[in-house]
């Protein structure tokens, strides 16, 4: 167990250093950091002064060490727009994103797993075919388009839901639905596959022989074992949910990380972008670490391999 934990932590640390390096290199992709931070057409003397002040004239490895040190202090420089620390700008936006992501993930897991279980009860039967088709459809519609169609239908035609903003419960419906629909598709697919395997296991046959109802068999006996492969997939959806929150922030003017990062692109606000990439990346790495550890705790076989 400890060996596994150590190895897993080492992997995460390596991934973290990789991420830091990637965020660091970003500034050099365009040629020089001065081009990103300074307005166009400044004289060469200003650029030289800027490079000297920020240590961009040092050797590459030394710059990386300096960058790592400032990252350890959560220091990504100041926002070029309002002068606040870039990490504060991002951290302030975090709660909004987390709340809506957790709600969406919870709803999509509940619906997706239930649909997957029902589909697996009779593989290639009528219910399975319908559910497979519907969930594949859910995963195939582009989220930005579904959001727009939701606005067109519920806000413009029926006038029952607001088009944007955060006012009351009804304003949550469309954003949450936009985020939840795509994960439902993949979760139902995975749940179905795991349940088909789980339902053909010997202990299910013996439980069936004892006369348990098929609903009890599916949802109480088989689901417990099928839950294992579903956990990491639910975790993988976290990265996808971030994509969704960017879309939601644009279409529904929803506050959060997505909105801040899109704004930072518009404002050419590089420190905020850098801090955002780093913090989102770190939180997803952490989430994956926690999920992996939970997973290995539940299933001891994982620890051995």
């Amino acid at each position: 167990m400890w060996a596994f934990l150590g190895k897993r932590l080492l992997y995460s640390a390596m991934a973290l250093i990789g991420l830091t390096f990637a965020v660091f290199v970003l500034a050099f992709l365009s040629g020089s950091p001065a081009r990103l931070y300074l307005p166009e057409g400044v004289p060469q003397s200003t650029i030289d002064l800027f490079n000297k002040q920020h240590g961009y004239d040092l050797p590459f490895y030394q710059q990386f060490v300096n960058f790592m040190l400032s990252v350890l202090h959560f220091d990504f420089g100041q926002s070029l727009v309002d002068g606040r620390p870039a990490s504060t700008v991002i951290l302030d936006a975090f709660p909004d994103t987390i709340v809506i992501s957790v709600i969406a993930l919870f709803i999509s897991t509940a619906i997706g797993v239930t649909l997957g279980c029902i589909a697996a009860m009779k593989p290639f039967g009528a219910a399975d075919k319908t559910i497979t088709f519907v969930t594949l459809g859910a995963g195939s519609f582009p989220d930005f388009w579904l959001a727009l169609m939701g606005v067109l239908f519920f806000s413009v035609q029926l006038r029952i839901l607001p088009t944007s903003g955060q006012s009351g419960l009804s304003s949550w419906v469309l954003p949450v639905a936009t985020l939840a629909i795509a994960p439902i598709g993949s979760l139902a697919q995975v749940a179905r596959g795991a349940m088909v395997d789980s339902l053909s296991a010997g202990y299910i046959q013996s439980a069936r022989a004892r006369g348990y109802s098929k609903w009890r068999l599916t949802f109480r006996h088989a689901l417990k074992n099928a839950a294992l492969p579903i956990i990491p997939v639910a975790g993988n959806q976290a990265a996808r949910l971030f994509n969704g929150t960017v879309i939601v922030s644009i279409i529904f003017a929803w506050p959060g990380i997505g909105a801040v990062m899109v704004a930072s692109v518009g404002n050419r606000d590089f420190p905020v972008l850098q801090a955002g990439v780093f913090l989102v990346g770190v939180s997803i790495l952490l989430l994956n670490l926690v999920l992996d550890l939970t997973y290995s705790f539940v299933d001891p076989r994982i620890r051995v391999s």
Binding site: Y11, M14, L136, P142, M149
Partner: protein, 336 residues
Amino acid sequence: MKNLHDLTPGLVVDDSTASGLLGDPTLGGSFDTKSGTLKWVRLRVLLKMPVQLTAALWLVSLVVVALTIAPLFETAANVQNLEVRFLAPFSLDHGWLNVLGADGLGRSELGQLIVGTRTSFLIAGGVVVVSATIGSAIGMLCGYAGGWVDASLMRLADVIVALPTLLLALAVLFVLGTSIINLVIVLALSRLPVYMRTAEAQTRSLRERTFVEASRSLGASSRRIIVKDIAPLVLPTVLTLAMLELAGVILAAAGLSFLGLGLQRPDVDWGTLVADGRSYLTVAWWLTVFPGFAIALTALAGNLLANWVRAMGDPNQSGRLVAKIMPKGNREPVDK
């Protein structure tokens, strides 16, 4: 009838590839069988599944449209005609080109959709080819070399997977600027780990097999072993995987274009069209609905086919599927 593979004794089913595509992280399809029998059964199963068959035909016809007639519409799609400004769809009064309506500048929606088909498929195809080639090459080298090279590159794959595509795109396109090439680079980069992991896992298990050892003891160089012994066995899996990836890539590219990070006018793809139509959502619904439908139908077709490939690759499911679809007397290739 328990299992398709049990009934085909002549078939050498590799243990590393026979494991189903579903739920197996190494994603091994069983397409590398030399016998045509299994493929033939698969094709006949496809012909009996109307939904999946329609999906296949839809994709094939889009590719044909993209390759043949789309360039002819390049000029027609950009002709601005203020007479047909916001022309509603489904009327032939202004020529068949405007049957799906026209946008705010009077450009034909049908023409733009056809041109968009071409760019959408070029981008998705480019992304899949680039990421599959580079990813599987890196994966095979890693799996063959092992050691710290393998470990560190696989951790790199972990980092890329942890980063949401959009985050990567925001960051890279912010610095490099938006262009078709950059769009392909970003998307290919984000899809790289899928191929890296698959090729790596397969190579690692193939490396230990006797035929590789035989080559090595005959004095074959590492390069020769990778190219001649390992690559031919990894390739079919990568091809299957590439097919599965197409729908996701089309969606991702459309999403970036929608955010204005992908294509910019005068280049059009389906995502750009939805983004353009968004401003006129209340006045001209067709500008948003049609391109969105095009994206959705194509992604759905891709996903349906991928699902079919997955079901056929999973011995637990393919047997049931074949048994259900093929009438008894029609199964000779399997039952021989």
